[in-house]
Structure formats: structure tokens, C-alpha cells
Symmetry: C2
Subunit: 322 residues, 2 copies
């Protein structure tokens, strides 16, 4: 049974998140592919968070966090530092609630990332592209505005929101043997692990990480957080360092974390595009990359793969030209 | 009411097709997008034939044709000339039935087109890339093998199969005001028009064609077939000339045929990829291009757009690089 320790991610927080986000985010479909099943020798279920609001699972956690705030907490808005999917998700959730969102992002963030925040009415605050600059800038924004910080993953409200992905998966496919999920900061993996193992203790949950950003795999083996140093991977959503709060759950509930090469990530992404005719970003293709590189025992099993998002710059695709 | 003239596409042929192809092709989903609805000022329903078997609606007609054959007719297989989606669809249908498929294609056909035929066990016969060479080669193949010709569109069995797309649409969304469908040879448009108007005479059916391959639009206005000469468009599935059998139905049941620019086709394709996170080929983006260029009165209407296919070479995408 999952602990009821109030300092961790409890089942009641997940249930509250679920009620809170219904109608504000999508219950995403689960797709299957006979072709990919045959290649894997398994029954694969693709949880399509690329069809989620704002194009990624991040809408779940951000929406739960924003709607968890009391009226007085919410009054001055929310803030975060992110140039990725969490930024757009938080801007969207804030817009739904009618409060400001202050998004700190590096001044070299690509135009597509800026556009996805401004589309939802988020206010962008630029800073230099160092972690230190980001953190000091968000601290200043909070001091100036009174906004509430919503961290991309090291936040129980965010983790509880992401956990609803696991609840939906177990409800849709109770016979699941294994859930395979990308890991960056760990918000999604920890949430899914707590949710799925509460609902079905026998299910296995495995994280997959790019080999060039393998701090979660190393931390998992070491039993303590080993921060990411100079991560290099095409999976831009997975370059962040594992958070402490997610790690506490991952240590208890996750069965393993494996790594994959960037070549396999690109190959997996292309295969999903070509066979399934759906757009998945590099980070979302990471679970299938683990199947390509045979890092998982999936034969004859019922396996869920979380396609975490579908946001990428179509002008800069990693396919060879010709 | 639709005529029961046995020389045309009758409702009973469509019903027979439907029964014949169930379980052999997909009943494809209908997707919606709040973002695209807002842009169009209409309620849009995207019929996802890009998720069809072999990646395009062509699986419907080819499967109906192949399974319409008697045992003695089928014995020596089927033949066609096509380098596109019909080729792969026919190879797949023949494989399902366990008979040979002889596919005549020009020797300059891209590798991806060849691969999609050989994947399904089709036998490729190469010829020069002129219409004359294709027709004489397929005639020789038929003389040599005894195979039955399955034309890509000028064939009632094929048209009846494609018509099932319209049946599914009207069943899924009875309140439809308008169906918008690409037109190349006319097999799909004619089939959908007969099916939809039989089920709901008030529904409007409009074909959309690239301006650089506008023989169907010109033929529709002239009341007689004006063959395509040197068609130029990125929508490779729509370069073929309108067939006589489809045209007979299109004249009677289609309300209008409009044209769109290639620029709008690329823009529509990109928008569908980015917003809906699904892969649609240029030909399949043509209906949305007509909305972008305001060629249709869609405001406040319930409008179905047929996303006809999702097959294209990911190494040669028409997006500007940078």
C-alpha cells in the first residue's frame, strides 16, 4: 500500500487532482498499432499526451497547481522558469483561471517556445540562459509581483496532476503488466508510479532516460540525487535534473530506470510518425526507443508507453534530408 | 433519391461494400479541434483516413474490389498502374485474400512508394513514366498473367468502397451541413456524394482541387470531362484526371468544386500537424486549405473535412528550413 505520509504524494492528493482537472484538460486516448505490436512482440498501448491541451502532459500538473490555490493565493498570479511545455501549460491554466502567469525563459529560447506562451496570454520575462540567472530572475519576479511559484516538477500539486495519467491508464487497461515513461525532472514518472501501484501493486513501472542526460538513472542506482551536468540529448524535455520530491517516490515505487541513445530516440520518433501518423516530440519517443534498443522485457506483455508530448519545431526536424 | 440505374453507383452497391470491408479496413475516428473551430468560425469534424489501413482511404475501394471477385476471377490476381496510395492498398487487399498483386509503376517512383507496395507483398513492374507506357504495360501484365484490372477510381467497386467513408460520416454526425473532400480521379468524392445525399438529401458535398490540377473544377463547370494537362501541385494524390464513372455521379450529386493554391495546401498541412498533432499528406490537407482561402461558406456550420491520407516522405517535407 502507498504511504499516507503527508509529506509525500498521497493517493488522496491524486484523487483531488483528478476531480480538479476534469473538464479543464483532456482525458487522452490510448492508441494501438498492429505493426508496432508485431515488431515488439508485445501488446503496446500508447497513451497520447501529445493530444493533451497545449500539446503535452504538463497541462495536468499545471492545471492542478493553479486551481489548488486559494483566492488570495491566486490573486497575484503564478510564476515559473521554463522554456518548454510547462511554461505553455502554466500560461494556459492561469488564463483559464483568469490570473497572470509570469514565465521566465532564457533570451535564446526559440520563437516557437515564446509563441506557445504568448498564445495563452503568458507574460515572458527574459533572462540569461544559466540556471542561476533563471532562478534569480524568477525570485525577483515573485518578489515584485507576489506571484506563486509553480515549479515544473518539484511540487506535490504538479506531481499529483501528472499522476492522473497513470489513473487513466489503469482504468483503461486494467490488464497492464508494465508502464514505460520518460523521466526528466521526475514529476510524471513519480506520479504515475504512485497512482498505478496504488491501483494495481503488481504492475511494473519503468523510467526511460536519454543516455546523454542520465542523472535519474545514476541517482536511482546510487540511492541519492546526482545532479545533471551538461546534459546532451535531442530530447529537450528531459534535460532537467531529477527533483527531490519526485525522487522520494521514484525510489519507493519505480522498478527500474534504463537509458537509450539519441539515435534510437530519433528512430522511434520517425517510426511513430510513419506508422501511427501522429506527431510525437523527441522526449515522447523515448519509451519506444527503449523497445528498439531492447532495454525492456516486453515480449508477450501488455505494455503502456506514455507519449508525453507533441510540440516541436517543424522547421528543425532531425530526419536526414534525402 | 438516388437512382437505381445499374450502370451507376447505387446505394445497394455501397451497402454491399460496407458489409464486405468490415473487419478488413478501419472504421476511422472523427477528430475535432477547438483551436481550428475558432479559426474557421465553424464546427469542424476531421475524418481521419490517415489512420486507415495502409495510411489512406484507398484501402476501402481496393478491399471492396478484391473481395468482390469470384474465386475464378481472383485466381490470377489483380493488377493496376499507380505509384501512390492505391498501389499499396491493392497490394494489401490482395495479400489479405491470398492472391497476387501486380503493380505497374514508373521507374522514377520514389523509394518510399516502392517500399509501401513490397511491404504488402506486391509485385512491382516498372515502366517509363508516361501514361501511355503505364497503360500498355498494365495491358501486357494482364495478358501475361490473367490478372483482373482494378483501376484506382474509374471502377464502381472502388467507388462503392470509398463511399463507405461518407456512410460512416453521416452515421457519426447526422447534423452535418457540409462535407468537404479532395478530388483527383473522383472516386472518393463521387462515392461520398452518393452515400451522403442518399442518407440526408439536404447535406452539401463540395470537392476541393489544387489550382494547378483543376481538371475536375473545369469539367464540373463545362459539364463534360476536360482532361488534365501537365498538372502541377504538391498534392501528388490529386494529379490524376477525373474518371468518367465518378464524373457521372459528381455531376448529379456534388454541389460545387473549388480550387486552392499550393501555398494554402502547405499552410493547411502544417497547421493540422502543429495543432492536431497528426500527420496528413498534402492531398489530405486540401479541404482545410479551402477554409484558409475562404473558398467555402462554413460559418456557424457543421462541416466534415476528409483527411484522405497520411503517407509522405519525411525526408522531403515542404516546410521552409529555418
Amino acid at each position: 500500500m502507498v504511504s499516507t505520509d503527508t509529506t509525500g504524494l498521497s493517493w488522496s492528493l491524486i484523487q483531488e487532482a483528478r476531480t480538479r482537472i476534469v473538464g479543464r484538460v483532456n482525458r487522452t486516448p490510448v492508441l494501438t498499432s498492429g505493426t508496432l505490436d508485431t515488431q515488439a512482440g508485445a501488446r503496446l498501448y500508447f497513451k497520447c499526451e501529445n493530444f493533451q491541451k497545449a500539446g503535452a502532459f504538463k497541462a495536468r500538473g499545471a492545471t492542478n497547481a493553479v486551481f489548488s490555490l486559494s483566492e488570495s493565493e491566486a490573486r497575484h498570479g503564478v510564476a515559473t522558469h521554463s522554456s518548454g511545455n510547462h511554461a505553455a501549460a502554466l500560461a494556459r491554466a492561469a488564463k483559464l483561471r483568469g490570473i497572470p502567469a509570469h514565465i521566465v525563459m532564457p533570451d535564446n529560447a526559440p520563437q516557437t517556445k515564446r509563441a506557445s506562451v504568448t498564445r495563452y496570454g503568458g507574460r515572458i520575462v527574459f533572462c540569461e540562459s544559466t540556471l542561476q540567472a533563471r532562478e534569480s530572475t524568477v525570485a525577483r519576479v515573485i518578489a515584485d509581483t507576489g506571484a506563486v511559484l509553480v515549479h515544473p516538477y518539484n511540487d506535490l500539486r504538479v506531481m499529483a496532476g501528472q499522476a492522473t495519467t497513470g489513473v487513466e491508464l489503469m482504468e483503461a487497461i486494467p490488464e497492464l503488466d508494465l508502464i514505460v515513461c520518460p523521466v526528466g525532472g521526475g514529476g510524471l514518472l513519480s506520479g504515475i508510479a504512485v497512482a498505478a501501484k496504488t491501483m494495481k501493486p503488481a504492475v511494473r513501472v519503468i523510467g526511460v532516460e536519454p543516455a546523454g542526460a542520465d542523472d535519474a538513472a545514476r541517482s536511482f542506482k546510487a540511492g541519492q540525487i546526482i545532479p545533471s551536468v551538461n546534459p546532451r540529448t535531442i530530447a529537450d524535455g528531459l534535460r532537467s535534473s531529477l527533483g527531490e520530491k519526485p525522487f522520494a517516490e521514484i525510489r519507493r515505487y519505480v522498478d527500474d530506470i534504463v537509458t537509450v541513445s539519441d539515435e534510437a530516440i530519433v528512430q522511434a520518433m520517425r517510426l511513430i510518425w510513419e506508422v501511427m501518423k501522429i506527431i510525437v516530440e523527441p522526449s515522447g519517443a523515448v519509451p519506444y526507443a527503449a523497445i528498439i534498443e531492447e532495454r525492456l522485457a516486453v515480449r508477450q506483455r501488455q505494455v503502456a508507453l506514455v507519449l508525453t508530448g507533441g510540440n516541436l519545431d517543424l522547421d528543425r526536424l532531425p530526419f536526414s534530408g534525402g
